[in-house]
Symmetry: C2
Subunit: 339 residues, 2 copies
């Protein structure tokens, strides 16, 4: 659909563009009836007069848009908290949209944010984002944009991420160093870069320590839930060779493993060590408490906003914009689920 313009509205009503403009701006030399017809048509077409758009641009909206694929996940709720806190401290408010991991929502929401004249956008991709035209359009319009957490190399902009490959590598190495020899991995479907990178980090660490990766003890969950962790534990225990370590790509799965092993009387960490990812609140409460990776979601949100504000300021001053790739540090939290 063509973007409605002053000219198109004028043509449709059979009046001059300057009358349309005056009507939209409530000039007294336009009759009440004409004013009403113009304003109704403009409203129905969601037409934003240039002057309105322009004056909004000039004074800045002081709004930034934040798109998350998952508004309830513990990690994203921490990221959001960092985003809101940092934005507010800098005089910005945040429009929060959840793509609910649907690419159609992601596309629609970028349009919504452009129409709301936000000063910049923070975006984490859905697991199904495999084309990037809708995002590159945002870049082409010189709208400040930062990808965070779930990113793509096919978009030319600043990116704030966690080095998932490195942390999965370090966690796996930790298990090996503590004596584990047959380490299972629970991952999600391989359509998210986060999941792929953790899987590759796991395999790389095994290889670096002369352990052959064994696909028969790499499990794909349907959902990252406690129930799935329990179900997969039962599958693991059916393996002929006994596993002695588990690296789960997220805490809920690791907790499911712990709860099921507890039910079966299998000792953690003596018989099996378990590591999760996220340092979510449950990890301190489960028994034994879970060794996990703190992803510092708040810091990621903070960094993402700071990077975005830098770009907003640079573009405002018409200075060159230098895209950054920022790696947010993580921290391994050693608790009682590992030897």
């Amino acid at each position: 659909m063509d973007k409605p313009t002053l000219k198109l509205i004028a043509k449709e009503l059979g009046i001059s563009p300057s009358t349309v403009s005056k009507a939209l701006n409530n000039y007294p030399d336009v009759g009440e009836k004409t004013r009403q017809r113009v304003q109704e048509l403009a409203a129905s077409r969601k037409f934003v007069p240039n002057s309105v758009a322009q004056s909004l641009r000039q004074q800045e909206s002081k709004l930034i848009g934040f798109i998350t694929p998952n508004a309830v996940h513990y990690f994203f709720s921490n990221v959001l908290n960092g985003v809101i806190h940092t934005a507010q401290a800098n005089g910005y408010s945040v429009i929060v949209l959840s793509s609910e991991d649907k690419i159609e929502f992601e596309k629609e929401q970028l349009e919504i944010l452009m129409n709301k004249n936000v000063d910049g956008i923070l975006l984490s991709l859905t697991d199904h984002t495999t084309t990037y035209d809708h995002i590159n359009k945002v870049v082409a319009r010189k709208m400040p944009l930062v990808l965070y957490d779930k990113i793509s190399k096919f978009v030319n902009c600043s990116k704030v991420t966690i080095n998932d490959r490195k942390i999965a590598h370090d966690a796996t190495r930790y298990l090996i160093e503590r004596g584990c020899k047959r380490i299972a991995h629970i991952r999600g479907a391989l359509n998210s870069i986060t999941i792929i990178d953790r899987y590759l980090g796991y395999k790389k660490a095994l290889k670096a320590h002369g352990i052959e990766a064994d696909e028969s003890i790499v499990y794909e969950c349907n959902q990252p839930t406690i129930e799935e962790g329990k179900r997969i534990t039962d599958l693991m225990l059916k393996e002929k060779i006994k596993i002695d370590g588990v690296l789960a790509f997220t805490d809920s799965l690791a907790i499911g493993v712990i709860l099921r092993l507890n039910e079966l009387g299998i000792k953690i960490p003596e018989e099996i060590s378990v590591i999760g990812f996220s340092n979510s609140v449950q990890t301190r409460v489960v028994s034994p408490s879970l060794t996990t990776i703190d992803q510092h979601g708040f810091d990621m949100g903070k960094k993402a906003v700071e990077t975005l504000l830098k770009e907003i300021r640079a573009r405002k001053k018409k200075e060159p914009v230098k895209f950054e790739n920022i790696d947010v540090p993580t921290e391994m939290i050693i608790r009682n689920s590992t030897r």
Copy 2:
């Protein structure tokens, strides 16, 4: 400070108000230099021309504002999810602001939302909100407003709440019916209506069952944390008469109680039963799992948005607005921490 008007800007620059208006709207019959001077001054004063404001109002901003005192708490993150989901399904986007439980932030953020021309506001009060002029100003401007969760009877608007008194009453009655006779209560400071109501519900249930309330086993925590739950458990165990039940006003405290009792080898629920509030994710994971109250945060967010949209639509059609008091149902989740 006076709100900048066309006239004031005209006076300051020594030109006519109509020239200012034309300059702001980029009319060709205003010289480039004048246009620039006007637009710069207007921008620096954050002047929104009436025509801009008006056309924004006419076409609706399709934005609603959401102020939460606590963006990371599990309950509020569920409420937010319900809000975002329901708003998006109705074509609205949500500006999320966190008052961080500070009344100055609450005041400032209501102003920000008014200035952003949101179509309506959802507000949960800080624990320190004891004056209401800043909120009643919103009501007076006929801006659609719904208070949720932490509300005040001194504001005349729709309210979406949980009946905290009733659920604390029911939870206490449950403990009594299962044989508990000396039930301790852990509450927060009495400056939040939620905390007061839970405390009153607890006392009412004791009274209704002929048990005299004993202030020596009502404990005030400094923070709703696991650590505080542990600290208070030690205080409880110093009491001469043995307590046999604990009603904590939030899950983290109840979990602290469980973890400390486990450390001391005191059997739950045989010796002491424990109940929390929120049904947060940890409650299923702690051992024994925690009996708690599910507050259905998602439903509260959904109801709050639906109530707000009803008011937005009514005001748009100039129909009378009927304020509603909505009680979101809760559910007691019986697990293994109670007899």
